[in-house]
């Protein structure tokens, strides 16, 4: 009887665990492992040809025009990452600090700041594309109405402003996320510590830099890492607002667009190349994994256990 019961339970556990495992194995683990393998082959359309070793990697890193494209997209991703560190995470920290004080209306402000986060990126992209319209967009109309008409410009149409305009839309879309993660971190700071600080100093600056900031370190680790991964996977906003080519003149091209374009081709360039695309995917993947690991371990080290 006990023996039978054990096998019965073993069977029951198998029934529970195998179907979900199959989904993850087939649609996550297998594709990711294959992506690495694909990068070492030559491809013609959907047909795999010869094993070519590291040639695809060599091409995207060192052979023109791929080399310039890769470097340009990478440079833009770095700009995006640092700009969003300030606009999204920095602003998020300030907003979280303001919300934390539970001033009148805090509940309403909290709901408002998170509202854009639930919207589809595609809706945000089109909405801001209309807002940035040179003639009829509300951005230029607002500037003209407050007497700053000379500042009005084709925001998405010129290399100098296009990427920054898209970054601003991204910050509007997502600032609520770090805000509420930081807020949750601040709300976990024990009241005794805050009382003790109040006895010691009145300086808000000291309180923020010496107490609040170190104690929300776990939240910072997570939002910094997520922002890093997100910034180097950036696709939807530049795809809609700048186009698949990163218009104008590649000024909004990022690795996500470049990878997609290389793998699946586009109307103007035509050619699709799974080999080069996979090589790019592997490089981006390794870069993200390596830097994210460094960020996480470095930031974890300064977290304080209470």
């Amino acid at each position: 009887m006990p023996q039978f019961r054990m096998t019965g339970r073993g069977l029951w556990i198998t029934v529970l665990i195998v179907p979900p495992l199959c989904f993850v194995a087939l649609f996550i683990v297998y594709p990711i492992i294959s992506a690495f393998a694909y990068a070492f082959f030559d491809w013609q359309g959907l047909r795999r040809l010869d094993f070519v070793g590291l040639e695809n990697f060599h091409t995207v890193l060192f052979v023109e025009p791929y080399r310039s494209w890769t470097l340009n997209a990478f440079k833009n991703n770095i700009i995006v990452f640092f700009a969003l560190m300030v606009l999204q995470n920095g602003l998020g920290f300030i907003l979280a600090y303001a919300l934390w004080r539970e001033l009148p209306g805090a509940r309403f402000h909290r709901i408002a700041v998170f509202l854009p986060v639930v919207l589809s990126t595609i809706i945000v992209a089109y909405l801001f594309k209309l807002f940035y319209h040179p003639l009829f967009g509300v951005v230029n109309i607002s500037l003209k109405s407050i007497g700053l008409g000379e500042w009005a410009q084709p925001w998405l149409g010129q290399s100098g402003t296009a990427l920054w305009s898209i970054i601003a839309a991204q910050a509007w879309h997502m600032v609520g996320f770090p805000t509420l993660v930081f807020l949750a971190g601040m709300q976990r700071i024990p009241g005794e510590i805050l009382d003790a600080v109040r006895m010691e100093t009145e300086s808000e600056w000291v309180k923020i830099t010496k107490i609040v900031w170190p104690l929300v370190a776990p939240s910072a680790t997570i939002v910094f890492t997520l922002l890093f991964v997100g910034a180097f996977n950036w696709f939807e906003l530049p795809y809609i607002m700048g186009g698949l080519d990163g218009s104008p003149f590649g000024s909004t091209d990022v690795l996500g667009l470049y990878f997609y374009r290389t793998a699946f081709g586009n109307v103007s360039a035509g050619q699709q190349d799974f080999g080069l695309g996979s090589a790019l995917a592997v490089l981006i993947f390794i870069f993200i994994a390596a830097i994210a690991a460094v960020i996480t371990t470095r930031l974890r080290a300064r977290e304080i256990q209470l």
Partner: protein, 287 residues
């Protein structure tokens, strides 16, 4: 510390508090206006004709003017896209919650060899950016003959949703007390019956959190339909929106009402369930 400086601190304390709170309140109000203005302009513009939008972009419209919406209803595939999104999101959520609960229950409730390894296997999927594996996924869907079929989306979303669901649910299921389960086992209830009638009713709060964390990205996803779906009648809402926005480029009234209609379902649900949304969507980032 002298009396004078203490006084100085006191006075500065009160004024400082007022001044500081005032500044913080101003920051919050300014930010809230900035957050809501684009959405308000979008909704207002949806009720205007294109010339009205160009002439007075900030004006309050006549809300009885619904010709833009009628146009969308009668001339476009919008309703089709909306139904497709409901179908794909609904099917994915049913699969995610069913399979996720099954795996989490097995890992969290039974001690068996390899349990921690299996949990690690699921968690590995938590951080991997699956977008970068889109080429092999495309080939896999082709080999399974489900390219241009919504099953491809449902399967990918299910696999993507499982790691976070298993993570949240396992943590929760482990905290449930053993007494109920043991009592039922004494009474001779089968393992399946214990799970279904005794444990499952208790895990609903975790299901809500895991559900919201997954439903929003799936409902909003654009990347996978872009690669897997070509047929217009199979497109989901974010993808259909790109078709629609391309067709009506000059009719801004229709564009804004299309955006408003697309945003309406999730905004309304968010306003009703904001607490659960915020908890669910940040749950992955809060320990």
């Amino acid at each position: 510390m002298s009396v004078a400086t203490t006084n100085y601190y006191d006075r500065r304390g009160i004024l400082g508090t007022l001044g500081r709170d005032g500044l913080l309140q101003i920051i919050l109000i300014a930010n809230t206006i900035l957050m809501l203005a684009p959405i308000v302009i979008m909704v207002f513009s949806a009720f205007k004709t294109t010339p009205q939008i160009f002439q007075s972009p900030f004006g309050i419209p006549d809300f009885s003017q619904v010709q833009n919406f009628i146009k969308i209803w009668s001339e476009t595939n919008f309703l089709r896209y909306l139904l497709n999104s409901f179908l794909v999101t609904g099917a994915s959520m049913v699969l995610i919650l069913t399979l996720g609960t099954m795996a989490a229950y097995a890992i969290g409730r039974y001690a068996f060899t390899g349990a921690s390894f299996i949990l690690m296997f699921f968690l590995a999927g938590l951080t991997l950016p699956l977008k970068l594996a889109i080429i092999p996924l495309f080939m896999l869907m082709r080999d399974l003959s489900i390219l241009n079929n919504q099953l491809s989306l449902i399967f990918v979303y299910t696999a993507m949703g499982l790691p976070s669901t298993v993570f949240i649910m396992t943590g929760f299921i482990r905290t449930l007390p053993n007494e109920l389960e043991d009592a039922a086992r004494m009474d001779g209830a089968s393992e399946a019956r214990i799970m279904w009638s005794i444990m499952l009713p208790l895990v609903r709060p975790a299901m809500v959190i895991a559900g919201i964390q997954n439903v929003v990205p799936i409902w909003n996803d654009f990347f996978f339909p872009l690669v897997f779906i070509q047929n217009d009648s199979l497109k989901t809402l974010p993808q259909g929106l790109t078709t629609f926005m391309g067709e009506y480029t000059t009719d801004w009234g229709v564009l804004f009402s299309g955006l408003t209609l697309s945003a309406a379902p999730i905004i309304i649900i968010y306003i009703v369930l904001s607490r659960q949304f915020i908890a669910g969507m940040t749950s992955g980032a809060i320990k």
